[in-house]
Amino acid sequence: MLDSVIFYFFAGIAVISAVLMITRRNAVHSAVFLITTLLATAGIFLQLRAEFLFISQIILYVGGIMVLFIFVIMLVRLDVPLPQIHSRTQKWIALLVALAVGFEAGVVIWFARKVPGQGLLIPNAAPADKLPPNTEELAKGLFGTYLLPFEIASVLLLVAMVGAVVMAKKRTDA
């Protein structure tokens, strides 16, 4: 009961501000609505008991990536509203395609619910007062089975670091 109230609260915020995000003309307003979407998604992670993911969503996505976005918007004067796409056909095609994909996936999910023996219910929490510490659980996965992807992630970060600096630096002194 309480769980579903919290879920619908966060899900409602996420969807409404996502819609607002893609419809605002001002890029900073879009960024603000993306921030609320991301925060609501963090709430959903928390509701799914992924505590560490909740906090890394806030630290990395909201506190990191979104700051970067707003920086770029400020640096390059994108805050002036831009004209929308002139041809409205593209918009209608986009909507149509999205609706078709959504309908298809929705039907699949809906019928998966009806398959007997697979209620697809999230197992109820053990009514213990104390949950297993999520950070430690995640760390065991991260440094156990998924050690190699973890090391590869550092290579990815290295590439991103180098790439972004090369891109953003001026060519004059290179």
């Binding site: 796409i85 999205a98 995640l138 970060l157 991103a160």
Partner: protein, 100 residues
């Protein structure tokens, strides 16, 4: 006890909104933001299934996706800045140097 379908529908909705944003918006920055939204929708799925199967792998991969999103944002915005320096535009349909 929430059915997992709820999470899947939420994720689907966010994914589609993100996809519509990618297709219809002209401003490259909002296109990038929509891509972040799509990645986020994927994360919801991963975490929901991680909870459903009681396996932490989904969460680990969601963390990797966030790391990849950070790298993507850094490089993507770097490209936009480099592009701005040369072409003075952020409109996706004016980025047509490769168009023949």
């Amino acid at each position: 006890m929430m059915p997992i379908g709820h999470y899947l529908f939420l994720s689907l909705a966010l994914f589609l909104i993100g996809a519509i944003g990618v297709i219809t918006r002209r401003n490259v920055l909002i296109v990038l933001m929509s891509i972040e939204l799509i990645l986020n929708a994927v994360n919801i799925n991963l975490v929901a299934f991680s909870r459903y199967f009681g396996d932490v792998a989904g969460q680990v991969f969601a963390l990797f996706i966030i790391a990849a999103a950070a790298a993507e944002a850094a490089v993507g915005l770097g490209i936009i800045i480099a592009f701005l320096r040369n072409r003075e535009t952020v409109l996706a349909d004016e980025m047509d140097l490769l168009k023949w």
